[in-house]
């Protein structure tokens, strides 16, 4: 097993309800101050709880670049402030490239809601509806990339309340694989009515400020904010001579596959994720001095988490300091994992422990709760843990800057292969080889597809929206072909906009009839990670399960993220792709762009050695999969010349890129343009990947090139037949 370098944290940025900036946030946090007050951003009358941890005094117009001031959301501004602070501390300049991984759950939902509440009284016209698509989750990364300059690679991830944690693990992967030499990783979420009324409907919000781990706790307090970390290899930090704040030594991402809102009560799964992060760090549980817990203040989470900690630390649990920061800064959802990672890094750096405020009678007295303010302690190693909806668990391990260097093993899976593929189109679900047949029938109109929900067990899929049904039915077929072990398989699904129609229906009821008519069963189906949560539970996948968002290249981004998680050895196999369902609002807004369809595609990816060890001949080898954010005119310049038997499968191929392709060495190769066959939708690139895998697997081509683009990004994927890969 290869050795790996340590990852240094060289910059931190924080915006919380306790203040702008890491020093103000951290000092007030350690002092035990609460940043919770009466909700002012929107009307919550009729709800039992009307308090929140708001970031007061956030002036979006003052933060945003002047030309974009009208377009920025509160989330964009929160993320930018945290990013700028972290970058400044790290001494990073745009002279070198910066990877950007951001986690979040709702993006500009607050602004979407304002547009919706303006449109509700008048019948919404397409012009009004367009505003509802102006703030997809991925837009924050786009805005930050423009504002900061020289950004890449990028990813927007959502794994519910562990989103910020997962983005940091993804950043670690980019550094160890060499995809990036410096990374800004973090999370952001602004308060909005969707989450406020949704959590209230679930009975998960305490009318009083939350009291994590207390016997009298009655739910969480929602908050908003952003946290960002600059990460780089230790050698890079030493060479630049910048101070190392802490080491990011370990990480773990996995899923419970249990329930869309309830944690698995025994804490068994959460304990395994905690233990894995400690093991990745090369440490024993006895080396951990402090755990910044998820500690939401809900009955179920805190009880589960206490059990998990007792499982991991055993009789030594009384030696490990534990606290939750959420009683002071609220539960900031997709930002929480990143904010708390920054807090944990500062804790080990300063030897200072933030307390759990409001904790008077601990439910789990065996735990060593931090209760006094400004308590100092010798802290060598600490964990920051996140346990989100849909069972999305993620844990990070940090060590003090003076931690002794030791050998760290890091297996980097080198060659990635495809061991299963399936697509969904007008004729329903097709597995890899059938997809290839579909390509041959380009001109024949397909028979009507069965309803996607009809393909699934009605009881276990009863809350699924159409998009989730397509996702799960298609992924199920791809998994069936791959025959991999679900307990070590993860899932990454791309979605451009989420379920807009269903979210709007939920919000119209809230805005029209009042906040208490928010639907508790609908709410968990509306957050951006619902597709991966549903898939994990339905398919029993307990590897890392998350969603990504990147406009019409969301499926391509999902494959990139899945490959990074495989390279980090967080799963033995990853299902990755995207699907989009018909959506009346998206269709109305985007109909001008051409005939709309629905569908998508999924690949099962794994390391070549893993496939061969299972006795599987891969359907195809992923020879390359890369994103170009700039200079599309050079997109095809580095490709090797095509073999005699080759094909191109194109998702969205803009005319300018099409002519660049025509002039390249691949210009004469036969090209299948999927939008012509399947209609235009944002997962067309994912369908192209699955169909290309089918072309190669069925022997129609020795190599298949997949090209799919959106406005700012072009993805090139080259698949080779396994036998012909050299």
């Amino acid at each position: 097993m290869a050795e790996r370098e340590r990852i240094a944290v060289t910059g931190l940025g924080l915006v919380t309800s306790l203040g702008f900036g890491r020093e103000l946030s951290f000092s007030r946090l350690c002092a035990g101050e609460r940043g919770i007050g009466e909700l002012s951003l929107f009307d919550a009358s009729g709800l039992k709880s009307r308090i929140a941890a708001e970031v007061a005094g956030l002036d979006v117009h003052a933060v945003a670049p002047q030309a974009e001031a009208e377009d920025w959301s509160r989330s964009d501004a929160l993320a930018f402030l945290a990013a700028r602070e972290a970058i400044a501390q790290a001494g990073h300049t745009p002279g070198s490239a910066l990877g950007l991984a951001l986690g979040g759950t709702t993006g500009g939902m607050y602004e979407t809601e304002r547009a919706l509440s303006a449109a509700v009284p008048r019948n919404s016209t397409p012009h009004d509806a367009r505003r509802l698509l102006d703030f997809p989750l991925a837009v924050t990364v786009e805005r930050l990339a423009r504002a900061l300059g020289n950004i890449g690679p990028t990813a927007t991830v959502c794994s519910a309340c562990s989103s910020g944690t997962v983005s940091i693990a993804l950043g670690a992967s980019w550094l160890l694989s060499g995809r990036a030499s410096r990374v800004l990783a973090g999370g952001v979420d602004g308060l909005c009515q969707l989450t406020f009324t949704g959590f209230s409907a679930l009975g998960a919000v305490d009318p009083e400020p939350s009291r994590p781990f207390d016997v009298s706790r009655a739910g969480l307090t929602l908050g908003e904010g952003a946290g960002c970390l600059v990460l780089e290899l230790e050698s890079s930090a030493r060479a630049r001579g910048v101070p190392i704040i802490a080491f990011l030594s370990g990480w773990s991402v996995a899923s419970e596959a249990h329930h869309i809102t309830h944690p698995e009560p025994s804490g068994e799964r959460a304990a395994r994720v905690l233990a894995q992060a400690i093991a990745v760090a090369g440490l024993e549980p006895s080396a951990i001095d402090y755990v910044n817990a998820h500690g939401t203040g809900t009955i179920q989470n805190d009880a589960m988490e206490a059990r998990a900690l007792e499982r991991v630390f055993g009789p030594n649990v009384g030696n490990v300091w534990v606290s939750s920061s959420k009683a002071q800064i609220g539960h900031t959802l997709g930002a929480a994992g990143a904010i708390e990672a920054a807090i944990t890094a500062l804790s080990v750096n300063r030897g200072l422990l933030p307390p759990t405020v409001g904790l008077e009678r601990p439910e789990a007295p065996a735990l060593r709760h931090v209760r006094a303010p400004n308590q100092s302690a010798r802290l060598s190693a600490a964990l920051s843990s996140s346990f989100g909806f849909g069972g999305a668990c993620a844990v990070l391990a940090f060590e003090a800057p003076g931690a002794e260097a030791r050998r760290l093993s890091g297996k980097l899976t080198a060659e990635i292969v495809i061991s299963g593929a399936a697509s969904y189109g007008p004729s329903g679900v097709s597995s890899g080889a059938e997809s290839a047949r579909d390509l041959k029938r380009l001109e024949t109109p397909p028979a009507a597809a069965p309803e996607p929900l009809g393909l699934l067990d009605p009881e276990r899929s009863r809350r699924f929206g159409r998009a989730s049904a397509i996702v799960v039915a298609t992924a199920e077929r791809a998994l069936h072909d791959a025959e991999c072990d679900p307990s070590t398989t993860g899932f990454v699904v791309g979605s451009a906009f989420g379920d807009v129609e269903r979210s709007v229906r939920f919000l119209q009821k809230v805005l029209g009839q009042g906040p208490k008519f928010a639907s508790p069963a609908e709410f968990p189906q509306l957050i951006a990670s619902t597709g991966s949560g549903n898939a994990s539970i339905y398919l029993g996948l307990t590897g890392p399960c998350l969603s990504v968002s990147e406009f019409a290249t969301s499926g391509q981004s999902a494959v990139s993220v899945a490959i990074s998680l495989l390279e980090l050895d967080l799963a033995s196999a990853m299902v990755a792709g995207a699907a989009e369902a018909r959506d009346t609002i998206v269709d109305v807004v985007l109909a001008a762009d051409g005939a709309r369809g629905e569908g998508g595609g999924f690949l099962v990816l794994e390391g070549l050695s893993s496939a061969l060890a299972r006795g599987r001949v891969p359907l195809a080898v992923v020879a390359e999969h890369r994103a170009l954010r700039a200079a599309p005119e050079r997109a095809f310049a580095t490709l090797p010349p095509p073999p005699h038997r080759a094909c191109i499968v194109a998702g969205f191929l803009p005319p300018a890129l099409s002519s660049v392709l025509a002039r390249s060495t691949w210009g004469e190769v036969r090209l299948h343009s999927l939008p012509a066959l399947l209609g235009q939708h944002e997962a067309i690139g994912a369908a192209a990947l699955a169909m290309a895998a089918g072309e190669v697997a069925s022997g129609n081509a020795d190599q298949a090139l997949v090209v799919s683009a959106d406005v700012d990004t072009v993805y090139i994927t080259r698949l080779c037949r396994y036998e012909a890969r050299r």
């Binding site: 869309i260 009863r462 809350r463 639907s519 508790p520």
Partner: protein, 87 residues
């Protein structure tokens, strides 16, 4: 509203609000338990049902343990609605 009409409306609420695809009013027995073994419903369904009863019938359902008896069966829900409206 007579009791059979009320029970029919309760069953429609169950089918629509809890996404019980592939089931009809005839599949739901007036006296059979709704939770546990019955229709395979969970606590998320209980929350949804409480909101739906308030929205559709103008009758609120108490939270927590108190709702358990009310959600025992279609008969019990009908009785709660009738009693609350009469009171």
């Amino acid at each position: 509203m007579d009791q059979s009409e009320l029970k029919s409306r309760i069953k429609r609420a169950l089918l629509e609000e809890l996404d019980l695809r592939g089931r009809t009013e005839a599949d739901i027995d007036d006296a059979a338990p709704l939770f546990g073994a019955g229709l395979g419903l969970d606590s998320l369904d209980a929350l949804q049902l409480a909101m739906a009863i308030e929205e559709r019938f103008g009758v609120s359902v108490p939270e927590g343990e108190a709702s358990r008896d009310i959600f025992a069966s279609v008969n019990a829900i009908a009785e709660h609605i009738t009693r609350t409206k009469a009171g």
